[in-house]
Symmetry: C2
Subunit: 470 residues, 2 copies
């Protein structure tokens, strides 16, 4: 059995966990996978920092949905406490990417720069690269793929989208002959934790965010999560995989959860829904084209991230806390859902390790990288989305107001499926669930409503997925 | 782009659906995957039979859990109605397996004979083989794998365990560097449909089975499903993948659902559980060994299929109807669940197609088959299982009976966690939930109870998974 020499760039939560898994599990991994993996070099930015290897730094104690102690928590126990950093550590990152003694490069430093240059340098030297860098893939995925194709070496990124959930293999291999219609994901654990705390414990958004920061689930500067940037990057990668499309994060419509209130959640629950931050990518169903698009020159795709009301009978509604799940609808396979830990040091390291073993096999079997094919697609703007909406409007409590409001809905062709009026002090809150309507029509409706003298406030708009129980 | 010539053995539900996908989707598949797949030969047992190609014969109209029309159902619409059989059809199956004009062989005839000989013949001729034959893999997997290794050609079987659910890639690739502790699956859609109908519609077992037969979800002779043989074969394959163990169906403990009554289900629901037929494979946790087994000579594994009470808060409890799901617990990745359609022509054909594309890539990139490593494992008998149990006993309604019964539990060291007594006419039903106990002790307890004069009947024993809400 030939030893494959691994160089790891970055030794944070994920890198440290991976190093622990490889150092302590080497014999077991070799026995199971047939490849002997030795970490020969570890690149860090600051050699002076002490290292916590084995995953525990990344893993605040947590309880899983089934109430048992997290495997991650227990798993951390069996990693040796070694003295890191050791002689393998260096702060010269490029020396690892270009080292002839390194067979496989793992990029876990994150961010755009110098991660991009490091990956390109490693591929250029004929080394397969494993990365979990969603931000970079969502910006420069096409360039990195071309470099991979040019070098004939794999660029693997199972860990970049949903941590331990084997989503990249599912979309890129299992379903590559099928025709995916839509992928709906809860792909950001931080926001799902916050929304779950708001829904189940009644915490305010601010209190839930503070709790998430305290538990280490959110950053002190949380905008990447709560504004939806992280989910949008993942949506771009998912769209690329599902539709073989060239998608960047700029092609993704994005709203975060900062405007979601406890009132919104309570109302949703009353109607049989949960509020979730969804990443949705979908192929547009065009009239007359129900099968594969072989006769159409282009594929029409929409990618969007926003809070939504998810029917309680939909499997995604039950995904709680920091867990992730991705629901896939495809022509032949039907409905699939993959659920698991979308972040955390050890879960993400597990996915990286699966890719490292893949890369090692590609070297031992001398197989070139599996080619990736990209198609030109048309991106559909959010304004052309057709879905159901839930919206509320606070109005002066006067006779005739509902008539005026309903008239405006009607003028824009937005049909109301359900309406309820709640008394506020001196005002009334009108809550509407619409039938399927076009986003541009709904927006025009809301603009006209805001101009109405009796309308005090137009509330958060929530797009609706699935049937409620109302 | 080189054309890869595919030979399909078997044109039933799955084979017909695959033929439809490949015939109508050829251009789309080539565009997405970069391989041009042409079905050049189709082997059937009876050439005279007319063929229904495209998946519709296998797909009774169904509603999915989220209430939308099944993709399978809709997908069937866009397949061309061609006149099958055509000139590619033959009833000489071996001529396909041995045909030099066939690059990839897909075995979908099922059963042991002649499937085994056909697969061996194809591998021997240097052709990669894709199969969905769980029965054969659970009997002769080792032999087929060795033939694959010897020929250097892939033997792929994603569709054999859970239809469209990408479980084989998850366990065999994504998690191959991780250490799987336990896999719990609902892997038989027929029995899950029956149990769901019993639980939700109050149908008797017999009525639910009749409905399943009428809808095409169960065979007229349903024992492979309802006696747990199908699930046991899948458990053997899962155990092989999860633990790199050499497992056959004979190593799997098996109980079916024929003894499950509406009373059992109602009782379980009252306690916060759903009754499911589970396939459970697990590594035994031995004291002192919490990490990878690098110092232990053997791995201790148990594989079992039986009805069980699943806590309503566990994600598996919500898997309804003919859907399948597999819950994986592993050291680093933590908890994962994969959910989808475990059977049906089109979903299974989708998984087969993913493997066919994999096989085509292995031919174009000239890569040899990814090797599979097997370890010697020790199989733990069901008698050594330690879990919680729910059992009920119908007794004569006399004073002192509970004391006598409880004494027998105590004599065998089976500790009672909860007990409730229900009045029957002239009798009483005592329902017990135990703390964790050893199966052999529970069995000894029940044997002694049966010998007791006041005991009229010992009911179905249900093993308990997870915490209920009682």
């Amino acid at each position: 059995m030939r030893t494959m020499r691994v160089g790891i760039l970055g030794c944070g939560h994920v890198g440290g966990a991976l190093l622990g898994l490889l150092d302590t599990g080497r014999a077991e991994i070799a026995e199971r996978s047939g490849v002997d993996l030795e970490v020969v070099r570890v690149g860090v930015r600051d050699l002076a920092r002490s290292r916590s290897v084995g995953g525990e730094a990344s893993t605040p104690a947590r309880r899983t949905p089934s109430g048992v102690k997290s495997r991650e928590e227990e798993g951390a126990r069996w990693h040796q406490r070694s003295s890191y950093p050791d002689s393998r550590f260096t702060d010269d990152l490029f020396s690892i990417a270009e080292d002839d003694e390194v067979d496989i490069v793992v990029e876990l430093i994150g961010g755009l720069k110098p991660a991009r240059e490091l990956i390109l340098a490693a591929l250029c030297r004929g080394k397969p690269v494993v990365t979990a860098n969603k931000e970079l893939l969502a910006r420069s995925g096409r360039e990195l793929e071309e470099s991979s194709r040019h070098s004939g070496r794999s660029l693997l990124f199972e860990a970049a989208v949903a941590g331990a959930i084997p989503l990249v293999r599912a979309l890129g291999e299992s379903l590559v002959g099928d025709s995916v219609r839509r992928v709906i994901g809860i792909v950001n654990g931080t926001t799902n934790f916050i929304l779950t705390q708001m829904a189940e414990q009644g915490l305010s958004y601010e209190a839930a965010l503070s709790l998430a920061i305290g538990l280490g689930y959110a950053e002190q500067e949380p905008s990447a999560d709560v504004e939806g940037y992280d989910a949008a990057a993942k949506a771009a990668i998912l769209a690329g995989l599902a539709f073989n499309a060239d998608v960047t994060v700029d092609d993704v419509y994005r709203e975060g959860i900062v405007a979601v209130t406890n009132d919104d959640i309570a109302l949703a629950q009353r109607l049989g829904y949960e509020v979730k931050l969804l990443a949705v990518i979908e192929r547009e169903a065009r009239p007359g084209v129900v099968g594969p698009e072989k006769d159409s020159p282009r594929l029409s795709v929409r990618a969007r991230v926003h809070p939504a009301m998810v029917s309680r009978v939909h499997p995604l509604a039950g995904v709680r806390g920091q867990f992730n799940a991705v629901f896939i609808e495809s022509d032949a396979a039907g409905e699939l859902m993959l659920y698991g830990q979308g972040a955390g040091g050890l879960p993400t390291a597990s996915a990286v390790l699966g890719d490292v073993i893949d890369a090692a096999h590609s070297l031992t079997t001398k197989s070139s990288a599996r080619p990736v094919f990209r198609r030109t697609v048309e991106f559909l703007p959010i304004e052309e989305l057709r879905t159901e909406y839930c919206v509320y409007i606070d109005v002066l409590d006067q006779p005739g107001v509902l008539g005026a409001v309903a008239t405006i809905f009607g003028e824009h062709g937005v049909s109301i499926r359900w309406m309820e009026q709640f008394d506020l002090s001196g005002e009334a809150r009108l809550v509407f669930l619409t039938h399927i309507a076009r986003e541009s029509d709904l927006r025009a409706t809301l603009a006209d409503l805001e101009a109405l003298a009796v309308v005090e406030r137009v509330g958060q708009v929530l797009r609706v997925h699935g049937q409620g129980e109302s």
